[in-house]
C-alpha cells in the first residue's frame, strides 16, 4: 500500500481544490484578527511614538520637535502627581487585593459550609463595572449622605469618614475601592491554585508534624508561586489602565490629587487639543507597563528554556 499511496500526491500535477481549501481555512479564519491586532497594537503604537515627537496640537501634524513634549510633560506638576499616584495606587492595590484575596481563598479552602455562596459573594464585585463601583462608592464616601452620615445618625455625632473630601487621603479611597473590586478575582485564582495542590502533600506535612500555618507557608504557597505572579501581572495592567474607576469615583479630585495618567492623557488629547504631549504621556504609560511586563516575559522564556533542558 505505502509505496503507491505515497508517490501519487507527489506525481499529481495539481492538488484537489478541497485539499487546498482545507489548508487555507485556518489562515483565512485567523487573518482578520491577526491583521487587526497588528494594526491596533504595533502600527498605532509606532504612530503614537511618532506623534509624541511631533508638534501635533488639535490634529496630528508631523513637524518634528524631538523630546520637547516629554520635557513639558515632566515640567507639569499635575503629570508628576498622576505618575506618582500610578505607582502608589499600583503598589497598594496589588499588594492589598492579593493579600485579601489570598486570605479569603485560604479561609474558603478550609472546606467551609456553603462554599459556593461565599465564592459567589466575593467574586461578585468583579461582575460590576468600574463605573458602577465608582459611583456607588462615591456615595458611600460622600460625607453628606454616605457612611459618615449613617454612623452620625446612629448617635456618634463626631464620627468622621470623608476620605474623598481631603486631597491627602482621596487616593486611599481609590485604593480601597480598587481592592474591594478585585480581591475576589485574586481569591478565585488563588483558590483554584490551592485546590490544585496534591492532597497527599498536605497529608505528608501533617505526618511530618507541620502546623497549619507552617504547612501553608512552607509547602502549599511555594507550590502555587506561579499563581502569585499571574495574579500580580493581571492586576498591574488593571492598575495602569485605571481610568473609569477614578472618573466615576473622584473625577481626579479634589483638585488634581487623584489624577491618573490615563485621565491625564484623555484630558490632553481630547479636551485641550495637545495631541503631541498627550502622546508623550501615553508613551510614558507604555514605559511603566514595559518595566513590569518585559522582565516577566523574559523570565517566562528563561524558565521555559531551563525546563526544556531538564525535561
Amino acid at each position: 500500500m505505502s509505496t503507491r499511496d505515497l508517490t501519487i500526491p507527489v506525481a499529481a500535477p495539481a492538488t484537489p481544490w478541497r485539499q487546498r481549501l482545507g489548508t487555507m481555512v485556518p489562515i483565512l479564519v485567523l487573518a482578520p484578527s491577526l491583521a487587526a491586532s497588528f494594526i491596533y497594537v504595533f502600527v498605532f503604537t509606532l504612530w503614537t511614538l511618532y506623534l509624541s515627537l511631533s508638534n501635533s496640537s488639535l490634529m496630528p501634524t508631523y513637524g518634528f520637535v524631538g523630546l520637547d513634549n516629554y520635557a513639558s510633560l515632566w515640567a507639569n506638576r499635575r503629570w508628576n502627581i498622576a505618575y506618582t499616584n500610578l505607582f502608589l495606587f499600583s503598589g497598594f492595590y496589588i499588594v492589598g487585593s492579593m493579600a485579601i484575596g489570598l486570605l479569603l481563598a485560604i479561609l474558603i479552602d478550609q472546606r467551609v459550609r456553603g462554599e459556593a455562596v461565599w465564592r459567589t459573594i466575593f467574586l461578585y464585585p468583579l461582575a460590576v463595572s468600574f463605573i458602577v463601583t465608582g459611583t456607588v462608592w462615591s456615595w458611600l464616601y460622600n460625607p453628606v449622605d454616605g457612611i459618615q452620615a449613617f454612623v452620625r445618625g446612629l448617635g456618634w455625632t463626631d464620627f468622621s469618614f470623608a476620605l474623598t473630601a481631603n486631597r491627602n487621603t482621596a487616593i486611599y479611597a481609590v485604593i480601597i475601592t480598587g481592592i474591594w473590586q478585585s480581591s475576589g478575582f485574586a481569591m478565585a485564582l488563588f483558590l483554584a491554585g490551592l485546590r490544585s495542590v496534591d492532597p497527599d502533600l498536605i497529608k505528608a506535612a501533617q505526618i511530618d508534624g507541620a502546623s497549619v500555618s507552617r504547612t501553608y507557608r512552607k509547602v502549599i504557597l511555594p507550590t502555587i508561586a506561579p499563581i502569585f505572579l499571574a495574579v500580580a501581572v493581571i492586576q498591574i495592567q488593571f492598575a495602569i489602565k485605571t481610568f473609569d474607576l477614578v472618573a466615576a469615583l473622584t473625577r481626579g479630585g479634589p483638585g488634581v490629587s487623584t489624577t491618573f495618567p490615563a485621565i491625564y492623557v484623555y484630558d490632553l488629547m481630547f479636551q485641550r487639543g495637545q495631541i503631541g504631549e498627550g502622546a508623550a504621556a501615553a508613551m510614558m504609560m507604555l514605559a511603566a507597563l514595559a518595566v513590569v511586563l518585559v522582565p516577566y516575559s523574559l523570565w517566562i522564556v528563561w524558565r521555559r528554556r531551563t525546563e526544556g533542558r531538564n525535561g
Binding site: 496534591d198 497527599d200 502533600l201 501533617q206 505526618i207 508534624g209 507541620a210 512552607k218 511555594p222 507550590t223
Partner: protein, 365 residues
C-alpha cells in the same frame, strides 16, 4: 508484643459503610500487606492507621497506646505515598529534614540523620536537587528516605510502586524487601498487586468490600484460600473454578468437553454435611500432561480428557486454554512439554493441591 493492633474497626461516610469491622494485628518487625481490588477500603484503613481519617468506631493501638484520637504527628509513624508527595519547592535535603525541623530537632542531629539515611538509600549525590529533577525511582528513594529518617515505630506504604514502570517496579520491590530486612521496622503496605503482596509480606490481609477476607501467611493464602474471592484474587493466571458433583464421600465428577462425566477421586474425604454441588478450584500450575510416571510421583493426580483451544507461550512457561464442559480452564506447562492447539490431551489434575468450595457460601470446604 504487637506493634499494631486493630480491633473491630468501622468507618462509614454518612450511610455508606467503607470498613465493616476490621481486626488485624502486626507483631514487631512484621511486614503486613493489605491487598484487594480498588474500592475495597485498604487505603482508607491505612489512612485511619496514619490518623488522616477519623475512626467511626473500634480501636487502633500502636505499640501500647490507643491512638484513635492522637494527631498523625504524634503517632510515631512514617508514610510513603503513592504520588511520593515530595515537597516540590524544596531540595531533597529539605524534604528529608522538613519533619525534623517541624519538631525542632537540633541542626547537628538533623545533618547526622540525613547523612545516615542518604548513605542507606544511596542518594547522597541527589541531596541538592529538587524533586522535579529526579527520575521516578530516585523520587521513590527520597520518599522512603523521608520516612526512614524519622525512625518510627510503624512504616506505612500506600501503593508506593504503582507509579513506576514494570522493570523499575520489580527492582524497587527487591529494594524494599532488602531495606525491611536491614531496618526491621514493622510495616503496613497497601497494594492492589497480589505479586507485590506475595513477595514482600510476612502476612497478607486480603480485603474485599470493606472487610478482611483472610489474614494469613502468603503460603497459606495461596494454598488454602478461605473463600472463592481470595482464591480468584491471589495468583495469576487465576485459579480455575470447575463446577462438580459429589458422587461419593471421596469422589466427584466433572463435565468433560464431549458432555460425558469424568470421575475424579478426592485426596481427602469431605467433611460431613458438604453440599451435593461443589466448585473444584485448581491452580494452573497443578494441571499437568498425564503420564504413568507422574502418577507414580504424585499419587493424588487424577486424569481426564480435554481438547486444547489455545496456546500462549510466554517464554518461561506456556499457558494452554483447555475445554472442560462448557467452560475454559487454563493450565501452565513446561514450554518443552506444552500441548499444541487442536490436540486432545490427557490432563493430570493434582487433587492434593486442589480446593473445594461451597457454591452457595463461596467458602472453602
Amino acid at each position: 508484643m504487637s506493634a499494631l493492633m486493630i480491633r473491630d474497626l468501622h468507618k462509614s461516610y454518612g450511610g455508606l459503610e467503607i470498613l465493616a469491622g476490621i481486626n488485624l494485628e502486626a507483631r514487631t518487625g512484621e511486614f503486613i500487606a493489605l491487598v484487594g481490588p480498588s474500592g475495597c477500603g485498604k487505603s482508607t484503613l491505612l489512612a485511619m492507621i496514619a490518623g488522616l481519617e477519623t475512626v467511626t468506631s473500634g480501636e487502633i493501638w500502636i505499640g501500647d497506646r490507643l491512638v484513635n484520637s492522637v494527631q498523625p504527628k504524634d503517632r510515631d509513624i512514617a508514610m510513603v505515598f503513592q504520588s511520593y508527595a515530595l515537597y516540590p519547592t524544596m531540595t531533597v535535603r529539605q524534604n528529608i529534614t522538613f519533619g525534623m525541623e517541624s519538631r525542632g530537632v537540633p541542626k547537628a542531629e538533623q545533618a547526622e540523620a540525613v547523612k545516615r539515611v542518604a548513605a542507606l538509600l544511596q542518594i547522597e549525590q541527589l541531596l541538592k536537587r529538587k524533586p522535579g529533577q529526579l527520575s521516578g525511582g530516585q523520587r521513590q528513594r527520597v520518599a522512603m528516605g523521608r520516612a526512614l529518617v524519622r525512625d518510627p515505630k510503624l512504616f506505612l506504604f500506600d501503593e508506593p510502586l504503582s507509579n513506576l514502570d514494570a522493570k523499575l517496579r520489580v527492582d524497587m520491590r527487591t529494594e524494599i524487601k532488602k531495606l525491611h530486612h536491614r531496618v526491621g521496622k514493622t510495616t503496613v503496605y497497601v497494594t492492589h498487586d497480589q505479586v507485590e503482596a506475595m513477595t514482600l509480606a510476612s502476612r497478607i490481609a486480603v480485603m474485599n468490600q470493606g472487610s478482611v477476607q483472610q489474614f494469613d501467611t502468603p503460603k497459606r493464602i495461596y494454598d488454602r484460600p478461605t473463600n472463592m474471592f481470595v482464591a480468584g484474587f491471589m495468583g495469576s493466571p487465576a485459579m480455575n473454578f470447575i463446577p462438580a458433583r459429589l458422587t461419593g464421600s471421596t469422589s466427584i465428577s466433572v463435565r468433560a468437553a464431549d458432555g460425558s462425566d469424568a470421575a475424579l477421586a478426592l485426596a481427602a474425604p469431605l467433611p460431613a454435611g458438604a453440599p451435593k454441588d461443589v466448585v473444584l478450584g485448581v491452580r494452573p500450575e497443578h494441571i499437568y500432561r498425564f503420564t504413568t510416571d507422574l502418577k507414580s510421583r504424585k499419587p493424588a493426580v487424577e486424569s481426564m480428557q480435554a481438547p486444547v483451544e489455545l496456546v500462549e507461550p510466554t517464554g518461561a512457561e506456556t499457558l494452554a486454554v483447555l475445554r472442560l464442559g462448557d467452560l475454559e480452564i487454563t493450565g501452565r506447562f513446561e514450554p518443552d512439554d506444552a500441548p499444541v492447539m487442536g490436540e486432545t490431551i490427557t490432563l493430570g489434575i493434582d487433587m492434593s493441591r486442589a480446593c473445594l468450595f461451597d457454591p452457595a457460601t463461596k467458602a472453602l470446604l
